[in-house]
């Protein structure tokens, strides 16, 4: 093959409207039903608890909860209260927003393995109250909850996790 087509345009061409284009801002607004398992999980968060589920067949304790075990493919109905502590499985230090703007204060997203769940079962959350340089894989962390009155049954009822 010899001829490779496509006409590259520069950012500048785009900004100065050196060529014609049409733009549109979509108006998308969604409200998602929480579902049975996550609904219960969110109710738990409102009460200051992290809930998991236990499969009656393989006995895995999973978090976030689900109404089925994807391994055994059976219904899962056994909710178990887990601890609000855990261990950092992996983390990042994020200096940007989704549209590539710099953050003044970096965020520390992490997968946190929750105590009481099967080994390796974690959730995505943020770590704070710590110097980013001090964060380590394997570090013990504990949930920092919103005040009871402010909780509304959302994942953000846990403000973040902090080392303890």
């Amino acid at each position: 093959m010899k001829n490779f087509f496509a006409t590259p345009l520069k950012d500048e061409d785009f900004k100065k409207r050196n060529f014609c284009y049409e733009a549109w801002i979509g108006n998308c607004f969604y409200a998602w039903d929480c579902g049975k398992a996550i609904g219960r999980y969110l109710e738990g968060l409102k009460e200051g608890k992290i809930l998991g589920v236990k499969c009656s067949k393989c006995e895995r304790i999973m978090v976030p909860p689900r109404i089925f075990c994807e391994w055994c493919f059976v219904l899962v109905e056994d909710f178990v209260e887990l601890k609000d502590t855990g261990r950092i499985n992996t983390f990042s230090i994020s200096y940007i927003t989704w549209d590539m703007k710099r953050l003044e204060k970096p965020q520390i997203p992490a997968v946190i393995e929750i105590d009481g769940a099967s080994p390796g079962y974690g959730i995505l959350h943020l770590v704070s109250e710590v110097d980013p340089k001090e964060v380590k894989v394997g570090m013990r962390v504990k949930a920092v909850w919103k005040d009871e009155k402010e909780r509304e049954g959302k994942i953000t009822d846990i403000k973040y996790f902090k080392p303890y």
Binding site: A6, T90, M100
Partner: protein, 386 residues
């Protein structure tokens, strides 16, 4: 396993940050180039497969239908397939079963992506992959999952950033010889380490760019292949596999789903020892560490050992196992679905000895292309041979 399936022609556009052409036009250029490369006409084509990633990029609902005329699907049986980043290689598996099943004698596979339309940055289109209730309220950006996976991989096997950066150096350099490349350049490990930290450990030069582009191939069966070309390239194995979407419940240090996909393809191709039997490989490299991660998933080296292959120079074009001789996504560019098909096309050209300056030193009989996608979840593999 049904009829033998061959790839007989291939074509692609340049990969660019922003193309003046619409998705339809890009699809046309690629499809036409593929047909022309093997002297085929649209009337010779029985069915069309289109691979394209989220509609959100384009702001066009049912993008496959929108693209169809440009992709040569007018008045023909057409199917759009989509498994995120894995699409480009998966589309070849779909084309394969069209032909292997005997339902069609010929098929055109077209993959197109135009990411540039999404404002202000296409990363926004990816935000909806996070769980809407348990993850999105935390304000994630797409790089988080890569950074978390990369860090887990580094931590588990004690891999250094310096070693991973060598992938970016190699691939961007390889791409200097690719006429369609978007960000080919000569860089050093130090450049990668000094580049802007986006989401530690991910830095600017660890990441492939945002791209527009399209690729296409012509597939047919063993009875017709030589009507189109003297050098058909055979699809001897295809494989794909999905892991759980509960990604925080998996160990991110190893892509088990890639291994499953590879095992399916190796079995079909009758390959018992892939390390001896695969001559050239194009693993998916949207981030530099992914190339290493995938080489391990493909069983081409032991877990945690891929960096050593790289350090020893074995994955260079003149090495024992050339890896991403095209320049990969890091060098040629990453128009999602088209990038995966670009990898298949590179193996096609390498096996036919048509890769020009990119031609690998050893004589290659069998090659593998692999892609990956969704929520770090899908592995797709195609094995080609002459």
């Amino acid at each position: 396993m049904g009829r033998r399936v061959a790839i007989v022609g291939a074509g692609m556009t340049k990969f660019v940050r922003r193309a003046k052409e619409t998705g339809k036009e890009l699809a046309y250029y690629a499809a036409k180039a593929a047909l022309d490369s093997c002297g085929a006409k649209l009337k010779d084509i029985d069915g069309v497969v289109i691979g394209s990633a989220p509609d959100t990029f384009d702001g066009v609902h049912m993008k496959g239908e929108y693209l169809s005329c440009g992709a040569g699907a007018f008045g023909k049986p057409y199917l759009r397939c989509y498994v995120g980043g894995g699409t480009g290689v998966f589309s070849v598996a779909v084309g394969w079963y069209y032909i292997a099943s005997g339902i069609f004698d010929t098929c055109l596979v077209v993959c197109e992506e135009k990411m540039s339309s999404y404002q202000p940055h296409p990363q926004g289109a990816f935000l909806t992959i996070f769980d809407h209730t348990t993850e999105r309220p935390l304000g994630p950006n797409l790089l988080w999952i890569f950074a978390l996976e990369m860090h887990r991989y580094m931590q588990t096997y004690g891999i250094k950033k310096e070693e991973i950066a060598l992938v970016a150096v190699k691939n961007k350099k390889n791409a200097l010889d690719h006429p369609a490349a978007q960000i080919a350049q000569e860089i050093t490990v130090q450049d990668v380490l000094n580049s802007e930290v986006l989401c530690y450990p991910v830095q600017r030069l660890d990441v492939s760019p945002v791209s527009d582009g399209a690729c296409a191939i012509v597939m047919t069966n063993e009875y017709l292949a030589r009507r189109f070309t003297d050098k058909p390239v055979w699809v001897s194995g295809v494989g794909w596999c999905l892991d759980t979407a509960y990604w925080t419940n998996r160990d991110l240090c190893y892509p088990r789903y890639v291994e499953e996909a590879a095992r399916m393809a190796y079995k079909m191709a009758g390959i018992r020892n892939p390390r001896r039997e695969i001559d050239v490989v194009e693993p998916y490299d949207p981030f530099d560490y992914k190339e290493l991660h995938h080489l391990e998933g493909l069983l081409l080296c032991d877990r945690g050992e891929a960096p050593q292959l790289l350090v020893d120079g074995k994955t260079q074009r003149d090495g024992e196992l050339p890896v991403c001789p095209s320049g990969g996504l890091l060098g040629v560019g990453n128009p999602i679905a088209a990038a995966g098909l670009m990898k298949v096309i590179e193996i096609f050209w390498q096996l036919r000895g048509e890769a020009g300056k990119r031609q690998i030193a050893k004589k290659a009989k069998r090659g593998l292309a692999q892609a990956w996608g969704d929520l770090m979840q899908v592995g797709t593999v195609v094995i080609l041979e002459i």
